[in-house]
Assembly symmetry: C2
Homo-oligomer: 229 residues x 2
DNA sequence: CGGTCGGTTGAAGCGCATCAATCCAAGTGG
DNA sequence: CCACTTGGATTGATGCGCTTCAACCGACCG
């Protein structure tokens, strides 16, 4: 996805006072109610947005009216970096969320002024491209069951760490969002989840609350090469 | 596609002697026979490669042994820019081709030394991300027929211009490459092409030689919003 | 002439979409 | 407090699209 994880400069702190992180930190947090849009597809891309809390989804309306969810954005993730003149996607809040906005001019100025930051920014953008590629390949060549398993693993990795027995995965977004993200229907997402539950791979405490029972099998379903049953 | 089109600085020529284009132009052209690999997936990414002539395909072997074609590279396209430590894809010649190699160090040095170039390079990378996103969405949400039509349109736009009646599209790559690129089987690609021919949208002078008969219909099949039948 | 490889066409089966019904939890109003 | 409503999640039944397996065709080559 093109969502960028918040940069970590802990290992090699920059010699300049202005970092991207501090830039965002200096901005006020703007609340966005669940279901509300933070930015609109087609609007002029004058600012970059970082999620402070909650979760947003980046989405686009396709030519035929269908909706495509491009990614889910959690705390630290940014959106709008890759936009050219206008935003390519809308960003709507899945849950109540908080965001910070930074004008692109400001961001550009920071990058201009601190040469140390540029390689990091460049590497980040590059990594985003790689991640998008990866996701792209996975989704394009996998079956619906594999996509769902893959999604669960990705959500676990992002917010809880490497899948382990008993680990809880929270899915704050409705099934329809997951479906539009994976390129399948809501019913198929349900069936895949049900199948995973029936096979003892996961258990469902509720629609939004998944518990990993057999991490090995889950990874195997997701198409991980090194997964052991 | 993460392949980057060759930059055009014609409109605003750089004030520095060293441009990315001139950097590549200063390197010798290395011939690559059809079927041979120019770079290998997993190899250390020490250099960036630009196609001088012919066509290459960027591909990857997936965990389950299937092959995924990530993109096709024509003259001016680059590969290896987005790689981190090691190359994520192999690049094999579809036809006899010529390539130029530039060490990444050198490229980085040029970017460091000429501030004018950086926005352009950044914009290019950004555009590549957008294009990849676009392709990703299209392929994920379209049917096999739409994918094939879309591919034909993309090939036409890239090497011949906006689809027009009588325009010839050359497909130097075998059907298997197209199939692995679109995420469908060879047979499906064939059937879709046959269907387009039967409907008078295209005609086939040979497997690699397509002529557009009804550009409007072709665009409509590709899922273009403004297409007129 | 036989052999191989890429392309095309045909027949059968599976996977996912579609349509439809049901279930469940959370509101909402009497 | 309970009947009613509502939206999301789930399950079931059916159809279509693509894959799979198989055969055939044509070009190229030894």
């Amino acid at each position: 996805m093109y969502a960028l994880k918040s940069p970590r400069f802990g290992a090699t702190p920059p010699r300049h006072a202005w970092t991207i992180e501090s830039l965002f930190a200096s901005r006020p947090v703007e609340p966005v109610g669940a279901g509300c849009a933070a930015i609109w597809e087609g609007d002029p891309a004058t600012e970059v947005l970082q999620v402070a809390s909650g979760m947003l989804r980046a989405q686009r309306i396709l030519f035929d009216g269908r909706r495509a969810v491009v990614g889910f954005l959690g705390p630290g993730d940014m959106i709008g970096l890759c936009s050219a003149e206008t935003h390519l996607h809308s960003a709507e809040a899945v849950t109540d969320a908080g965001i910070r906005r930074v004008p692109r001019r400001m961001l550009r100025a920071v990058l201009e002024r601190s040469p140390d930051l540029r390689p990091a920014a460049f590497a980040q953008l590059r990594d985003a491209v790689c991640a998008a590629q990866e996701q792209f390949l996975v989704l394009l060549h996998q079956s619906a069951d594999e996509r769902v398993a893959n999604f669960l693993v990705a959500m676990a990795r992002r917010y809880a760490g490497e899948p382990a027995r008993g680990m809880e995965i929270l899915l704050p977004m409705p099934r329809a969002d997951i479906a539009d993200y994976l390129g399948v229907t809501v019913e198929t997402v349900c069936r895949s989840m049900t199948k995973l539950r029936a096979q003892g791979v996961i258990s469902l405490l509720g629609p939004a609350h998944v518990v990993i029972e057999r991490p090995g099998r889950l990874l195997a379903r997701a198409g991980e090469p090194s997964a052991v049953a």
